[in-house]
């Protein structure tokens, strides 16, 4: 690795990730994680809990679109996925995120690379696939709904459990990809708008 000389000022496509790239990956991953956490806090209000899959891609849109202009190399999104999984597991999510997040991030990376990290269509598709990692936190509930409900029944009461069961039984899971898709579109377009309005002018995109 020749990192002794000054790295290029603008991101270059392809090649290995340099130290500068890796630090950028860290900065944006940290920001994405915080944005996700803040959005997740709203999940305390029940309606937002159900809409979490919609909110998160919206909140993450601006940093993610800027991220894609700062580094344009294969592996960047995969590392972000791994970091998201690691920090989320430490911060109170189920460990399943640790597997799902890097996996979808790797797939997203493949899509971004197919679009040379600049095609808008590939950006939308890749961001959608990446955002699907939100399945991770839902997964334990999804796989084991009955066990989960049985466990919370003494605390929440039978009535509550029946309500949740009717809400979450089957069709709720199908709304997650739809929510992610809508959130991705809003987030990505918001991100692109902000990119043109602020970051390109400020010279950091």
């Amino acid at each position: 690795m020749s990192a002794t000389h000054q790295p290029p000022a603008t991101a270059t496509t392809g090649g290995r990730l340099t130290v500068k790239d890796l630090i950028t990956v860290g900065v944006f991953s940290a920001f994405y994680i915080v944005a996700f956490y803040v959005a997740g806090m709203l999940g305390i209000i029940p309606i937002f809990m159900v809409l979490l899959a919609l909110m998160c891609p919206i909140v993450g849109g601006i940093p993610f679109m800027l991220y894609l202009t700062r580094v344009k190399k294969f592996g960047m999104v995969t590392i972000t996925g791994l970091l998201v999984g690691l920090v989320m597991t430490g911060g109170g999510h189920s460990w399943q995120s640790l597997i799902i997040a890097p996996l979808v991030a790797f797939l997203a990376d493949l899509i971004f690379r197919a679009g040379n990290y600049s095609s808008w269509k590939h950006t939308l598709a890749g961001y959608f696939v990446f955002s699907l990692w939100i399945f991770g936190p839902y997964l334990p509930m999804m796989l084991n709904l009955d066990a989960y409900l049985a466990a919370i029944e003494p605390a929440y009461g039978t009535e509550y459990v029946t309500t949740v069961k009717s809400l979450m039984q089957s069709w709720f899971w199908f709304t997650i990809p739809v929510q992610v898709a809508v959130g991705t579109l809003i987030g990505a377009y918001l991100g692109r708008g902000v990119l043109r309005k602020h970051f390109e002018r400020a010279g950091i995109a």
Binding site: A3, T4, P7, L17, T18, V19, K20, L22, I23, T24, V25, G26, V27, S29, A30, F31, I33, V34, A35, I58, V59, I62, P63, L66, R70, I79, T80, L83, L86, V87, T89, G90, G91, G92, H93, S94, W95, Q96, L139, P140, L143, N144, A147, Y148, A150, A151, I152, E153, P154, A155, Y156, G157, Y160, I186, L190, V194, H198, F199, A202, I204
Partner: protein
């Protein structure tokens, strides 16, 4: 050179380390890898949806371990408040259903508290008690590739920075009367006003960090050496065994994801 490149990424200056950071042998009290292992074990125990009596005992045991860890670094208050919150949660889980009508729902808050307090307390203990340079040394000894070690270190280093920058921006916005009460109507506009300045300042801090780290030799081709010593001792063995007890107890009692 190695020390410099490590400290370029660390949050706090390494002036006078607390006794529990580096023992007499120059080694940390607990290896960061042991702490990470304990975190995963506690995650499995607390987030398991098992509702049996064994599961609640296992969670209480996990909470006890975390409380002891906080005590070991001299944070008595943290140990007490988290344990107390956990105990209140347990009481709610047990007895809230006896309350009339809708009030019984607060048992749900109890479940939340019982599941999250031990985990969050463990995660914050890990971050609090581990120096960044120590974490780097441990990760490199695990032969993790640089592509993982550097970004992960940056994430740890940046989480407090983001909070700090966010506070400054909030203050500036409040001072100028920009908020939902005033001119801002759309939540998307609010998102833009908060995120854009934050990103600009973070990108700049990141660039400075890059220059600083490169100047100090991060990214050189030579293998780096470390000042912070990592390695396993009897304390690590003790903690590893302790966190495995509730895991095994749960497995015996029919573990469910």
């Amino acid at each position: 050179m190695s020390l410099a490149s490590v400290s370029a990424l660390s949050t706090t200056a390494v002036s006078t380390p607390a006794p529990w950071l580096n023992g007499r042998s120059g080694r940390a009290w607990l290896d960061p890898r042991t702490k990470a292992f304990a975190l995963i074990a506690i995650n499995v125990v607390t987030l398991s949806t098992n509702g049996s009596a064994t599961a609640w005992t296992a969670r209480s045991f996990a909470m006890g371990i975390v409380a002891v860890l906080w005590l070991s670094v001299g944070r008595v208050r943290t140990a007490l408040t988290t344990s107390l919150a956990f105990a209140v949660g347990l009481v709610l889980v047990q007895y809230a259903r006896l309350l009339p009508g809708q009030l019984a729902l607060i048992g749900g808050i109890g479940t939340l508290v019982v599941q999250f307090i031990p985990l969050v307390a463990m995660a914050s203990y890990l971050v609090y008690s581990t120096q960044v340079s120590e974490a780097v040394a441990a990760m490199e000894r695990m032969r993790l590739p640089r592509a993982v070690v550097i970004p992960f270190t940056v994430v740890l280093r940046f989480l407090p920075t983001i909070a700090q920058e966010h506070r400054s921006i909030s203050d500036a916005m409040r001072m100028r009367g920009i908020g939902f009460g005033g001119r801002v109507r759309s939540p998307l506009a609010m998102l833009e006003y908060r995120v854009v300045p934050l990103l600009v300042s973070l990108v700049r801090i990141g660039d400075e960090l890059t220059v600083s780290a490169l100047t100090r030799g991060l990214g050189g081709s030579r293998t780096r050496t470390h000042v912070s010593r990592t390695g396993f001792g009897w304390r690590d063995a003790l903690l590893a065994v302790a966190v495995l007890i509730p895991v095994v107890a749960l497995l015996g009692g029919g573990w469910r994801a």
